[in-house]
Chain length 428, copies 2
């Protein structure tokens, strides 16, 4: 791949998430023409999406326009567009309304919810991947309390005040904690016919314990903390049925149906449809969840000029465990791809294979409670919570958002209030 004398090397990046954005920033320093395409005009700080879903933050607090973030990188062009197809031989990416020729392609298109063959569950139990998902979940949660206030039948009222969360990973745990806080504290005194603190939050996890990706002792601490604030944690519990108003769970050999008008999905992800496009056009191999198997340099073995990074890439660490779908992995991969491209452009030997440096992972359970596996030390409780707050504030892009989030967190901490409790969209 030698740089032509006439035109600069053309890099096209699909996706402006953590991986794509980091890749764009790192590649911008090379003598290349960069184009970043995203379906949305903003970069989203996904780790805080559950706070939008639970009314603690506004959508704009955790999002920033991609072109504004890259405005100083003058060789980066940002396009609003949707990648729909690929001609890997001719090196052309097709958008729904145009096409882009490339010399290097970086695909960072992420993942979507996975309903494991029950796609009809999507409307019954929305997942949490986009800002629209978050405002829809917020709408359902708040509407359940509003409808319960006007419901006279005790059984129906109880179902309205039951919230079931499917999936005990970090998102499920964080949603359960936040929902409990809303019911017990935020809405206190707001209703006349119902007592919001009577709401029940059920957390179902198919595996033997919640937070399966965390160390067992931390997961146990998280389960204890959830139980203490009133969440009903049910492990080894597989969803077998969903209907408007109920969820059916198989635990051991028996099935049980729980009346619950609000069901939220946090159980699994599958690769973006672009993974299928790469399989069809570039001979990429996909794993069972539709993620793209990449080589040690994050490129497709069949097409070394195509890289896949972030949640869409399937890669394992030295111990054979799959890399988690977190921002840190995506960002390190974005940075690594720039190193590979730089070496290729300058004719230098390629860098050593990608190696994920794991700084740890953390999840909040609620006010003053979190678990953090920082590799050298595992902490829980208030200290983990403060570490979580600090790290998340630091990683939010744009100073204005950092300040706004900090103020809203401080305000919520003091008053238990959540300032973004709006029912918008949907039924008006």
């Amino acid at each position: 791949m030698v740089q032509s004398m006439e035109t600069r090397h053309r890099v096209v990046i699909v996706g402006g998430g953590f991986g794509g954005l980091r890749a764009a920033r790192a590649l911008a320093r090379l003598p290349a023409e960069l184009t970043l395409v995203d379906r949305r005009n903003f970069h989203l700080f996904q780790p805080l999406l559950y706070q939008v879903a639970t009314g603690a933050l506004s959508p704009a607090n955790i999002a920033a326009p991609i072109r504004s973030l890259l405005k100083r990188e003058k060789n980066v062009r940002v396009l609003l567009g949707e990648a729909t197809a690929l001609d890997a031989k001719k090196r052309v990416l097709f958008l729904s309304d145009g096409e882009l020729a490339y010399d290097t392609l970086v695909v960072a298109a992420g993942v979507r919810h996975h309903y494991f063959g029950h796609e009809e569950w999507e409307t019954l139990a929305p997942g949490l991947k986009t800002l629209e998902d978050a405002t829809e979940i917020r709408r359902r949660i708040l509407l359940a309390f509003e409808t319960a206030e006007r419901e006279s039948d005790p059984a129906r009222r109880r179902a309205l005040l039951t919230f079931a969360i499917i999936g005990g990973g970090p998102t499920g745990v964080e949603l359960a904690g936040a929902l409990t806080e809303i019911a017990r504290h935020t809405l206190r005194g707001n209703f006349r016919a119902i007592d919001p603190s009577e709401a029940r939050v059920l957390l179902f996890e198919a595996a033997e314990r919640i937070l399966p990706g965390y160390a067992p002792d931390l997961a146990a601490k998280a389960a204890q903390a959830l139980t203490r604030i009133g969440v009903a944690v049910r492990t080894s519990s597989l969803v077998t049925g969903l209907s408007e108003g109920s969820v059916t769970i198989r635990q051991g050999g028996s099935e049980e149906t729980f009346p619950a008008r609000t069901v939220l999905w946090a159980a699994g992800v599958k690769g973006s449809p672009l993974g299928g496009t790469l399989a069809a056009s570039a001979g990429a191999e996909l794993d069972r969840a539709g993620r793209v198997l990449v080589g040690p340099d994050l490129a497709l073995p069949s097409h070394p000029e195509i890289f896949v990074i972030g949640d869409l890439a399937a890669l394992h660490d030295a111990r054979g465990r799959p890399l988690p779908g977190v921002a840190q992995v995506a960002m390190q991969q974005g940075h690594y791809v720039a190193r590979v491209v730089r070496a290729r452009l300058s004719g230098a030997p390629p860098p050593p294979p990608f190696r994920y440096v794991d700084f740890g992972s953390m999840a909040t359970i609620g006010r003053g409670a979190a678990v953090a596996d920082l590799r050298i030390v595992r902490i829980s409780g208030m200290l983990a919570w403060l570490a979580w707050l600090f790290l998340h504030l630091m990683y939010i892009v744009q100073f204005a958002n950092r300040l706004l989030v900090f103020i809203q967190w401080a305000w919520s901490y003091v008053t238990w209030n959540r300032s973004a409790r709006l029912i918008t969209g949907g039924r008006r």
Copy 2:
């Protein structure tokens, strides 16, 4: 209207805007059972809606849950529901899913856009009354720049970068000023193919001058200020046609068609459909814009137990001029209705007829520029702008929102940035 010994006087308020909320707070001090019904769960600070439409503020910054605002008024029940019909004889208000019996009814249901018989224009030129309107307008404005960046045809690109605002009242003036600031400053350096500062903002007003409700010298100052920042102000200009991508204007005897992909409607309002319900069931008279004619005590002459306040009420001041559709009028009317009801409940003589105390009106043109008619003095420029900032901050409910708005304004002032530039909903 004598209070029964068994049951307390039942007051039903429809609408949680400025009028309804103030009425609820004032009536809560009486020995009465209050119910406030609104289709939305939040009170909206409408004067700042244009700042949401132009990405300066987030929806939640200018909205607060009604039941949270009234949680200390224990005799006030807040219901999420839509009033659809009325039996004035039996004193029953029908909701889309229930009914409410009342002794006193306060209707504060507000107004909607008025397209003067061209209702088909609504999708072509959205108006600005709800949060959904605001995010839709924000989406259209930002999408126009995004699409222009990818458009190679100069004529189409020019139409994409032309924004037409129909109506030169305060909302139209404020939108024009904010749009100009976005184009000239906020988006600077964000694009590679277009120069956003080449965008044109056209403001069309059918009357002979903009801000017809303001003193002529202030309106002239506002027109000068708009022209100075680059807005094309066209008065005596009546919209005669709208299509996808163009607006046709009649000025004097001639018609002219302007290619403009984004057209915003700020030209007129008509009463909520509840006005028609009152006419049909309670014999209320409506004016041409569908507003309800009320007596000097704000009640229907045919039904003294039904009050209409706020934008939906048609009332004139001592000089025969219609009261403006502003928050101050609605709040004073809400307060007045409580006085009337208190007098009736206690058997005291009724208060003197409602009289609007006009503290003035103001509109911003942009950064450092506003006009304010404070009755005792008329000011414009920086001083008026600072007065506008201060008064609007003071009137925003909830301290958290006040602080968040203040920080975002300060941030925008220093950096020209607007933190809520998200394209959400609609085409994703």
